[in-house]
Symmetry: C2
Subunit: 233 residues, 2 copies
DNA sequence: TTAAGTTAGTGTAAAATTAACACGAACAAA
DNA sequence: TTTGTTCGTGTTAATTTTACACTAACTTAA
C-alpha cells in the first residue's frame, strides 16, 4: 500500500456504553456494563468494553466485535455516540476512541454468556465505580444522548424484551427520563402512534391482574418514518 | 514514549462541513464551503476542508485549525458531527475521519480572507458539485443533524449577523427546515422565549418600512439552559 | 371458598397550546 | 404625492395536553 501520509498517527479504539434495563425489578434502574481490566494501564480498574480498530473493519464492525468478544453480547441495537480525542486520555500514548452506545434487555443478556464474563459486571448508572481513562465522561455523554434520543425516536423498546406490558414500557420511560407519567395519558399517547401490536399473550405470575403483552411494530415504524413521521414522548 | 499497541493504525483526519447563510438575499439558500483539491487523490475535485490530526492536539483543535488554514474562518460555532470509518473511503489507505459542522454568516466571512482562498467556493446544498471521498455522505449527515438540532436548540443565530431582524430569523428557519411559518405565530413564539434583545438599531436601505434589529441573549440562554429550559421551534 | 391485596385497564372535562387569519404603519423610489 | 413593498400587531377556533378515580382481574393467604 502506498500511503502519502506517514506522520505519527494516534491509535484508534472503540468503546461501548452498554445500557441494560431489567423490567422484572420493582424499581428498575438503568445499568451499564463494565469490565475489570486485567492489563495495564488501569489494571484491576473498571472500564468500558472496547479495543483497537483493525485495519480492515468499519467502526461499527469494530464496536460490534469488541462488544461480542468482551461481553458475549451480539445482535443488539448499537449506534455511534461521539469520538473522544483528548491527547492525554490514554497514558500509553495518543489514543482516539470512537464511543458507541448499545441497548440491551438485562434478562436476555446474562453475563455468563460472555467469553470473558467473570470480570464483567452491571452497575446502576447512579452507582458507577471509578472508571479508567475518560470513561466517566463517555458514560455521561451516553446518558445525555439516550435521554435526548428516547423522547423523539422509539429506541426504548430495545431495552425491553420482545414482548412487554404497557406498565413495563411506562416504567422504562420513567426510569430513563427520571419523571413520572400519568398512566392513562401515557397509554393514550402510545396508543395513538399505532406502533404496538397485541401478541395475545399475558404477563402472569404476579399476585394481581394479568397484563396484556405487546410487541413493537418496527416494520410499520420504518414505513412511517420515511414519510416524515414524528414520534415524540 | 512506550506504547504497547504497535499494530498498523488508520490515519486520522478531520473534515468540516461549513454551513453559510446569506441573510441579504431575497431567497437565501443554505450553502456549504468546498475546497478544490490541488493534490492527489481527487486532484482538481471539490472536497470538504480538512486534514490530518496532529499528535498533540485535540480533535476540536484540529478541526478549528484546518478550518482556519484552509478557509481563513475562525472563532465560529463548531461541533463534532460523526466519525466516518469505511475501510475504503480513502484510496491512499485506511483513513478515519472525524467530521465537524461549523455555522457562519456568509456576509461576515468573505472568501478572500482565507489563506488558500482562491480554490474555495460556496455551493447551495441543493447544488453541490461531485465531492471527493465520502464527503457527499458527510454533508448529508450534517444537514440532517442541523435540521434536527435547530429545532430544539437555538443554534440558528450562529448563521445570522450579530444584529438581525425577525424577518431574517424567520427566513433562516424557513430555509433550513424547508417549510413556512406564520409571521405572527412565529414572532409570538420567539418573543415568548425572551431570548432576544432589541439593540435599538433599525435595518434600513430597502424601499420599505425599516425593521427593528435584535441580538441573541446568549447569557440568558446559558442561565436558563442549566435549569432544564427547553427551546423548541 | 372467600377475603385481602395489588396491579390492569379505562373516559371525561378543564387548561394550555397551536393554528388560522387581515390590515394599517413606515419607508424608499419614482 | 403616489406607489410598491415589508414591518408590526390580536383574536378566535381547533387541537393537544393535563388532571383525575374507579372497577376488573389475578394471586395468596386465611
Amino acid at each position: 500500500m502506498s500511503f502519502t501520509y506517514k506522520y505519527p498517527r494516534p491509535a484508534l479504539a472503540v468503546d461501548c456504553v452498554i445500557f441494560g434495563f431489567d423490567h422484572t425489578q420493582e424499581t428498575p434502574e438503568l445499568q451499564t456494563l463494565c469490565i475489570e481490566r486485567n492489563i495495564a494501564p488501569f489494571k484491576g480498574k473498571w472500564a468500558l468494553p472496547g479495543g483497537f480498530v483493525q485495519m480492515d473493519e468499519t467502526l461499527d464492525a469494530a464496536a460490534a466485535r469488541e462488544l461480542k468478544e468482551e461481553t458475549g453480547i451480539e445482535n443488539v441495537y448499537i449506534e455511534q455516540l461521539y469520538t473522544f480525542g483528548a491527547p492525554d486520555r490514554d497514558p500509553r500514548g495518543r489514543t482516539v476512541s470512537v464511543a458507541y452506545v448499545a441497548l440491551v434487555n438485562l434478562e436476555k443478556h446474562h453475563l455468563d454468556a460472555g467469553t470473558d464474563a467473570k470480570s464483567a459486571a452491571w452497575f446502576p448508572i447512579n452507582k458507577l465505580p471509578i472508571l479508567a481513562f475518560d470513561h466517566k465522561l463517555v458514560v455521561k455523554t451516553a446518558i445525555e444522548r439516550l435521554r435526548g434520543k428516547v423522547r423523539y425516536q422509539p429506541v426504548g423498546f430495545e431495552l425491553l424484551p420482545d414482548e412487554f406490558t404497557l406498565s413495563e414500557l411506562q416504567m422504562l420511560y420513567e426510569t430513563i427520563l427520571e419523571r413520572t407519567f400519568d398512566k392513562r395519558n401515557f397509554r393514550k399517547k402510545i396508543d395513538g402512534y399505532g406502533l404496538l401490536i397485541e401478541t395475545g399473550g399475558m404477563r402472569r405470575g404476579k399476585p394481581n391482574r394479568a397484563a396484556k403483552l405487546y410487541r413493537f411494530d418496527s416494520k410499520r415504524y420504518k414505513a412511517l418514518e420515511k414519510h416524515g413521521f414524528l414520534f415524540e414522548l
